[in-house]
């Protein structure tokens, strides 16, 4: 969808190196999310943000950190990449009200990360 972009689209990195993925939105939505997608697991929430500098952990947050210094940008950092973090990473945005998503998530196109 035009209102959300992820970069890079593809990345290959070596084990032990730090990696940062970027999610940029032009919708001014308050909520932003990072998911990873692996075969057989669907989409699993890594971290999410409910406002500038307000973030919280999801179900698979170990080894990941996030930052949100501006409404439009949400960064996901793999502090020291491991092969188990090879995955497709999706960013999503939502227009929530009182914690209820009325319109569903809008997903970015994803980043395919390979850790070798």
């Amino acid at each position: 969808d035009a209102g959300i972009t992820q970069s890079p689209r593809h990345k290959v990195t070596e084990t032990g190196t730090p990696v940062t993925l970027r999610c940029h939105q032009t919708e001014n939505h308050r909520y932003m999310y990072w998911y990873r997608q692996d075969p057989g697991h669907g989409l699993r929430l890594i971290h999410y943000s409910y406002g500038v500098k307000d973030t919280d952990k999801g179900e698979v947050s170990d080894g990941y950190s996030v930052s949100r210094s501006k409404t439009e940008d949400f960064l996901l950092t793999l502090e020291s990449a491991t092969s188990s973090q090879t995955s497709v990473y999706f960013c999503a945005i939502s227009e929530n009200s009182d914690g209820v998503a009325f319109y569903g998530y809008t997903f970015g196109s994803g980043t395919r990360l390979t850790v070798v």
Binding site: Y31, G42, F90, G104, Y105, F107
Partner: protein
């Protein structure tokens, strides 16, 4: 948080046939969302169900929320090749949505 189980994991359908995929939970759900992901693409929001017994239709797709709000179904009639993809259900868990593992649909002409 509440987890949803999707069945079947894979669905092979002949073009023109109908099929149904299910999303089940052992606990009462506040609401359910359905998404479709085409091969190589990203998930796209289809619908949200909130009320017990709610039924919504989008052309050939019919979505239903169970009376006890513990299950949901997606029924597709007269399947077309454009229906290929993975269909996910997701339940609201304190403002964050937890996704099922999905039903991968393959359509044979």
């Amino acid at each position: 948080g509440q987890q949803v189980m999707q069945i079947p994991q894979y669905q092979h359908v002949q073009e023109g046939e109908d099929f149904t995929t299910y999303c089940n939970s052992s606990t009462t759900l506040s609401n359910i969302q359905w998404y479709k992901q085409r091969p190589g693409g990203h998930p796209v929001f289809l619908i949200q169900l909130v009320k017990s017994g709610e039924v919504k239709k989008q052309k050939r797709l019919t979505f239903q929320f169970g009376e006890a709000k513990k299950n949901s179904s997606l029924h597709i009639t007269a399947t077309q090749t454009t229906d290929v993809g993975t269909y996910f259900c997701a339940n609201d868990s304190w403002g964050k949505f937890q996704f099922g593992a999905g039903t991968q649909v393959v359509v044979t002409p």
